[in-house]
């Protein structure tokens, strides 16, 4: 094997030889430099490979032929090789990326570039503290050189700030080192560690100086203004190197000198880390310039790493895994984002909308954003999971909370940015050229993230059982994205059908509860995909993301342990986010969906972590035996799940997200996706059924559910947008489900299940139909439609059946739910909550009538005289669902009886008894089949009666109405639809004032204003930054050492 010393030799040799080349030979000199970088990468990679596969032992490299402490020694071990490989790969890719710049600027820049990486390599390997200082200086100076790549005034002044700040920091480091030499009599780190200088008077100060200098190199908040300016001013290719490679080396150095500090260092580092993580991300919120935003994010991530290092005593042997997961995600993703910034070349994040002209780049950006935030299957997901679990196991609840808060804040700005990229207007933005040498490095790091993520997952036993085959299927679909939509549609349907075929029968045999949900998810998925045939063209990106959501949903069902559940949950969130943001005006709504989902997911994560505390297991069963903090745990998990069911207070994302989504996406995210929250809630309640704390929580939950039903329905009544109306209706319907579950009785749960199944069917019918109508008429506004019954009778019938079912009018299946609910409420004794729920149920008539009459009845508008019936591809799934609905209405016992058996496992008493088709409860009775027959026969008889009597009725044209003998003016003025419940609004509208939206907006304003105020410390004045550094040192010193 090639010795590590050759890394130095090659790099220096290359740098010195580059001086021979003339500018004319720039291609040759670049190739020369690239070769050196490649060779360095090769050496480190070779060692990494040896350490990973051949039980290679850590080696020491002595220089000058003497042993340490007399000479400088280098060390090559597993950790060194990992960091070296990471840094050198980034260096190699960065060099490729910077091809044009390096070539144009000449050999000096190439020298500086190689020397930067040489410095970083030695910094990692060296075991001599003064040598560390020298090569840190090399790295700093080389960085200062790279910053001025474009020689602009901003770059130069940022370079000056950088060099003077690092000058001060290395001065501090130097004082520390010389003092350590005085106290220890050695510069060899291994010797110094043995001496425990921290206990020597003065020695502690020396160690402190070294520690604080290394920390300052890592840019802790708030003493990091100089670094932010650098990130903003430097070429993004350089920013990538600083953020990914230099910061990684810095972290390694910190870990290297930490044993000198001893255990007392952990606390300082953890505290500094968490302040940096929170502070930096908070200020990132107000940032609208891309490079600087990336700077904030970089510093935030380093803060997280510092926190993790600081928490080592609690994380134990998991520290390395966690730190590695976070670091590798940060390094690769941040490098990728910086490089993308160089390609897109837009100062402000709104300008990133241009990126979606190149779908591949958009996908890469998405990869990086999701990797940074910690979504599966990226390494950061598993790292964060382990981190949170370990913190909970050690009872570090505050740390846990702070880390989640920081991650959440980071998610806000990253997803806002990503939203701009996907949805902001980009017509006026300038074109940007695409060069292969710039795209390849970005693609490689993205691929690396997926690959490393996969292997990281294998390292956790609970995650190793995750089935990755569906994800591979998605990758294939993604690769086939160039095909026309109908081909991908067919493949997707076949995929889901095969998936259903492999898993549904087993659930039918063994687990009726999961069977129902898996049918809703997969069969519902197939049905909604059928509607996809109505779309022409390629529908780029639609199928992969839809499948991600479905796979996530199924993973949730299949989950055997908490990690798997959370994996599926996050996957589902990611997929649905992309589905939602596809809508034309969905940017803000998708962000709000993402934020609520992310917040909810973090609460679930925290809940899981606390639940498994002390149980030595991650199985879902741990929820059964929560003992400590039960109230908090159950509440956390519950609120987490309630974000997905859009319960009152957490519902504000839903109307926009569902309302603005595409026509076949709305049913996916409404009829299907919302059930994930219901499933989570069911799992939680089943597990904690015996827990004493559940009683008080479900009581509150019951009220919440009932009020949600009321507010959701009332909100729906005042909508003018058909899809938003349905979205509000979903809020209300989910309120019923939550209410039913909260009753924690046999009948209550049956109610919830009935509503779950019903809502799936009729909301899918309604959303599909309305969506199809919208596709035909081109507007969501109901008052712009009217009289469409004549044009789309099939759509009308579908909506008619949908609303009869939804409203709970017998004999359709909605009544089943209402009847069960009434019985359950009375038996449970929740009279007032029940009354509210019924009030809500009646309000449903308002919006349902408005929906059907405004669209289908009344006067046909002039511009709709030529619209056609809705697409056959919508009619097929709609009518399949209608058949299902009818069967459920006519034979409710088919499903309710087995459901009753399941529910009886948990609530044995007070059930529903079946005598053939007759259902009885202790207080009521009802025969669904017979009532349907009676009503049907009667209806037919009366219809015949009317037909016989009025057989000569003459069909008249539009406008032939009783109108004082006049002719109405236009359809618009004759069709009463806009704001028809104005009077009702006057009486009860105060209930649906946007209190909750205002509350969340207020919260958002407070956070943003705080960020806006605090970030003024970054005045842009280099001297202020110096003052920050000195003050920081003094303050940290006096806080921790006196």
């Amino acid at each position: 094997m090639v010795g590590p010393i050759y890394i130095i030799a090659i790099a220096l040799g290359t740098a010195f030889s580059l001086g021979f080349f003339k500018k004319a030979n720039s291609n040759f000199s670049f190739a020369f430099m690239l070769f050196a970088m490649a060779f360095m990468t090769f050496i480190s990679g070779q060692w990494l490979y040896a350490f990973l596969t051949q039980q290679q032992e850590t080696i020491q490299i002595f220089t000058a032929g003497f042993k340490p402490p007399f000479s400088i020694s280098l060390q090559m071990g597993l950790h060194e090789s990992v960091f070296l490989s990471l840094i050198n790969i980034i260096g190699l890719l960065a060099a490729i990326y910077l091809y044009d710049q390096l070539k144009e600027k000449g050999v000096q820049m190439m020298m500086i570039f190689v020397l930067l990486f040489m410095g970083l390599n030695v910094v990692i390997m060296t075991r001599d503290i003064f040598n560390l200082f020298v090569f840190l200086e090399i790295a700093s100076i080389a960085t200062a050189g790279l910053i001025i790549l474009d020689k602009s005034i901003n770059a130069t002044s940022a370079g000056f700030k950088y060099i003077i700040a690092t000058g001060i920091i290395s001065g501090i480091l130097l004082i520390g080192i010389i003092a350590i030499y005085y106290f220890a009599g050695s510069l060899f780190i291994n010797d110094i560690i043995k001496l425990n200088l921290i206990y020597v008077k003065g020695g502690a100060v020396a160690v402190f100086l070294v520690l604080i200098a290394i920390i300052l190199e890592l840019k802790p908040f708030p003493a990091n203004g100089w670094a932010l300016d650098v990130y903003e001013a430097a070429h993004p290719g350089i920013g990538a190197v600083i953020s990914a490679a230099s910061a990684s080396a810095g972290i390694f150095v910190l870990a290297k000198i930490l044993p000198i500090v001893g255990d007392s260092g952990y606390y300082i580092i953890g505290l500094i880390g968490i302040i940096t993580f929170l502070g930096s991300n908070l200020l990132g919120l107000k940032q609208d310039r891309a490079n600087r935003l990336l700077g904030y994010s970089s510093i935030g991530q380093i803060g997280l790493l510092l926190t993790i290092i600081g928490l080592t005593p609690y994380l134990g042997d998991k520290t390395l895994f966690i730190a590695f997961g976070v670091l590798i995600s940060h390094a690769l993703a941040k490098a990728g984002l910086f490089w993308l910034a160089g390609i897109v070349n837009s100062e402000y994040i709104k300008g990133w909308a241009a990126i979606r002209r190149k779908p591949l780049l958009l996908v890469l950006m998405g990869t990086f954003i999701f990797a940074l935030v910690g979504f599966p299957p990226f390494p950061s997901f598993f790292a964060k999971w382990e981190l949170i679990m370990q913190l909970a196991n050690n009872d570090k609840i505050i740390w846990l909370a702070l880390i989640l808060i920081g991650s959440f804040i980071e998610g806000i700005y990253l997803f806002r940015w990503f939203g701009y990229a996907i949805k902001e207007k980009n017509e006026d933005l300038p074109e940007f050229p695409i060069k292969l040498n710039k795209v390849i490095p970005v693609s490689i790091v993205a691929a690396g993230l997926y690959l490393i993520g996969y292997y990281t997952g294998l390292a956790i036993p609970e995650a190793a059982i995750i089935n990755y085959i569906p994800l591979i299927f998605i990758v294939i679909i993604f690769a086939l994205d160039f095909l026309p939509a109908y081909v991908k549609n067919s493949i997707s349907i076949l995929g889901l059908a095969y998936y259903s075929y492999t898993i549904i029968p087993a659930y039918f045999e063994n687990d009726m509860l999961r069977f129902i949900f898996v049918v809703i998810f997969l069969i519902g998925g197939i049905l909604t995909f059928i509607a996809g045939y109505a779309y022409k063209g390629k529908r780029r990106g639609f199928y992969p993301v839809a499948l991600i959501m479905y796979v996530g949903l199924v993973q949730i069902i299949q989950a055997e342990n908490l990690l798997q559940f959370f994996f599926g949950w996050e996957l589902m969130t990611a997929g649905s986010y992309f589905l939602i943001i596809r809508g034309k005006k969905s940017m803000a709504h998708a962000l709000s969906y993402m934020l609520f989902s992310m917040g909810g997911a973090y609460l679930i994560l925290a809940g899981f972590a606390l639940a498994q505390q002390g149980q030595m297991s991650l199985s879902l069963d741990v929820l059964n035996s929560i003992s400590n903090n039960a109230f908090i745990i159950i509440s956390l998990l519950m609120i987490g799940f309630l974000t997905k069911t859009a319960t009152l207070g957490l519902h504000i994302w839903l109307p926009g997200a569902h309302g603005e989504a595409e026509s076949d996406v709305s049913p996916m995210v409404s009829a299907i996706l919302l059930k994930a929250g219901v499933f989570g809630l069911i799992i939680l309640l089943i597990s904690t059924i015996k827990n004493i704390e559940t009683v008080s929580i479900v009581y509150i939950l019951g009220w919440l559910g009932a009020i949600t039903a009321l507010i959701g329905n009332l909100g729906a009544a005042f909508q003018e947008d058909a899809k938003r109306l349905l979205a509000y209706s979903s809020i209300g319907q989910l309120g019923y489900i939550v209410f039913g579950l909260a009753m924690m009785t046999h009948l209550g749960w049956l109610t919830a299940f009935t509503y779950t199944i019903n809502h799936f069917m009729y909301k899918a019918i309604l959303f599909l139909t309305i969506g199809a109508v919208v596709l035909r008429v081109g507007t969501h506004n109901m008052y712009e439609m009217g009289g469409l019954i004549k044009k789309m009778p099939f759509a009308f019938i579908a909506v008619l059946i949908g609303i009869i079912a939804l409203s709970g009018v017998p004999p359709l299946s909605g009544f089943t739910g209402k009847w069960l609910l009434y019985n359950a409420v009375i038996l449970k004794g929740w009279y007032f909550q029940g009354a509210i729920a019924f009030f809500a149920g009646i309000i449903a008539f308002l919006y349902l009538f408005k929906l059907i009459s405004s669209i289908f009845l009344g006067q046909l508008k002039d511009n709709h005289r030529n619209v056609k019936e809705i697409s056959i591809w919508f009619i097929i799934p709609i009518y399949i669902l209608i058949i299902g609905l009818m069967i459920f209405a006519a034979k409710p016992e088919l499903i309710l009886q087995p459901m009753g058996d399941i529910v009886a496992q948990y609530f044995p008493d007070g059930g529903l008894n079946w005598d053939g088709g007759l259902a009885t409860t202790p207080i009521g009775n009802w025969h669904g089949t017979h009532i349907m027959i009676i009503v049907g026969v009667m209806f037919m008889l009366l219809l015949t009666w009317l037909v016989v009597l009025s057989r000569k009725a003459q069909k008249v044209k539009q406008f032939n109405i009783v109108y004082s003998g006049e002719r109405p003016f236009t359809p618009e003025t004759t069709h009463i639809s806009y704001n028809i419940f104005a009077g009702y609004n006057k009486a009860l509208g105060f209930l649906v004032m946007p209190w909750i939206t205002n509350f969340w907006n207020f919260m958002s304003d407070i956070i943003h204003d705080t960020a806006g105020f605090v970030r003024r410390i970054y005045s842009g004045n280099g001297q202020t930054y110096l003052a920050h550094i000195i003050i920081y040192i003094v303050v940290v010193y006096f806080v921790f050492f006196n």
């Binding site: 001025i148 020689k151 060099i163 300016d229 000195i1030």
Partner: protein, 123 residues
């Protein structure tokens, strides 16, 4: 003044230089003066380094006529800080040269040496 030895005096001088240097860095508005502040800071550190390596009543670590070749260990001062300070001085020189170059470039672009005039990047 028994304990006011040579090394203590130089050490205190070094510390004072460091403090003066920081004072200059934090208060002077002129870029050149800030660089001078940095050099003072740096020089102070070098003096500290040398004083730490001093051993009472001994000579430079060069074996010549003044040093008994068989008793080097008891006749010279510590060579290590001297070696380190050599390196540190060179590094300081490089950094100072860079600072001055940047200042020169900034001055060429904006014709100002006031640090307050270079606040374009902020927040």
């Amino acid at each position: 003044m028994e304990n006011l030895n040579l090394e203590i005096i130089t050490l205190i001088t070094g510390v004072i230089l460091v403090l003066i240097g920081i004072w200059g860095l934090l208060t002077q508005k002129n870029l050149i003066k800030i660089v001078i502040g940095f050099t003072l800071f740096d020089t102070g550190i070098h003096i500290i380094m040398v004083s730490i390596g001093y051993v009472k009543n001994r000579t430079a670590p060069i074996i010549d006529q003044s040093v008994n070749i068989n008793d080097v260990g008891n006749s010279v001062v510590d060579p290590v800080p001297q070696a380190l300070v050599l390196t540190a001085i060179v590094i300081g020189l490089g950094v100072t040269a860079l600072m001055l170059t940047y200042v020169l470039k900034m001055y060429q672009k904006r014709k100002s040496l006031e640090i307050n005039n270079y606040n374009d990047l902020k927040w």
